[in-house]
Symmetry: C7
Subunit: 74 residues, 7 copies
């Protein structure tokens, strides 16, 4: 399997459940619906966790790319 | 439903009540009236919350994009 | 009323009294005389507040855009 | 009086005494000799203040724009 | 052996086990599958360590380039 | 004497002894040998000071522009 | 000897032992094998030091330019 660009990995995670972690330590878990080259991200059925504890149900959430550290399929 | 770009999600939230959270921990809730590719945002009938507590009524507010972490319809 | 771009909201606040808040927590209140796409801003008859307390009278003040979090008409 | 661009305000302050404040809390007071679109600034007969106390005489000083929060004629 | 560009070193590490360290102190170890000019990186079979202690198994992980300090083959 | 651009001031300091201060509080003193539009700087016969105390002799030193706050001829 | 551009100084240090210091206080010492205009750097036979104490042997290391404060030949 050839994979040369990081965004290909995000593309393969589309519509799947991912965890997105921010520089401020917050985590958002939801279905990856959209992303762009700035790594701006939209999740659906999202919830916010802090220290692995659910804090809030958020539905749709737009996350600004420059606050993100990692994105990983759950 | 096809959705490929993060800004489409913001477009769908136009005129609706959203919560905008900043890197400094502040939250602004109001009707999303405008946004651009830098994620600069304008809210109407906005109020500021900190730790989910209302701090101020602000009316119209311009928020600079690079201070924003997330935007979510309430 | 159609409003699609965030800078339109700043344009409508021109010559009016606005509050500008910075990432370092300082607030500047004055008449909005100029702004540009970087959100660099010029206020006249400006005063600096910290925790809603007046600290200094400043007259004309140039504020660098990348230090700003929000701008709101008073 | 028409004024539409923030840099016009800096231009009008040329050769006049200004105060420049940095993100790290330091203040530089001197005659504004030069600036550019990055808001890089050169002062002459400059002195450094911290908490409104003179710390050092500096003569000519180049200040990198991205460390600046505000510039105001004294 | 001629090597003139930093990305050549990453290219030579492709498919090999690398350690990626972030500005927030976290470490990710895994097989380097992809990177781009922003140093966005994708690892496979990744695990997260903090102070050299394994915290989580992550499988595939996308790491945003601007949070990275160093990348080194293990 | 006409001086309109900040980099002219650096140009006039070429080969002279300057002090360069960084965002992290460190000071480097040496002969200014080179600079570019990013304000990347090279000093020769440089020494590092912290709180005006000499910490290290460094010889030639390259300083990345975005870490610099001020540059001033000694 | 004419030297006008900062990157010339890095070029002259190629294959020589240099110390690279990061914004987070870490130091990496090794042979400078590659760099680019972002000041991304590759060292060989690198070791990490903190407060001048060796912490780790790293072999080849890629350092992201925007985390670097200074580079100096040892």
């Amino acid at each position: 399997m050839v994979e040369s660009r990081p965004l290909d990995a995000l593309n393969r995670a589309r519509d799947k459940k991912v965890i997105v972690e921010l520089k401020n330590g917050k985590q958002y878990i939801g279905a990856l619906k959209a992303f762009d080259i700035h790594i701006n991200v939209v999740l659906e059925d999202a919830e916010e966790r802090e220290n692995d504890e659910v804090k809030r149900k958020l539905g749709v959430i737009f996350i600004r790319g420059d606050t993100i550290t990692i994105i990983s399929p759950e």
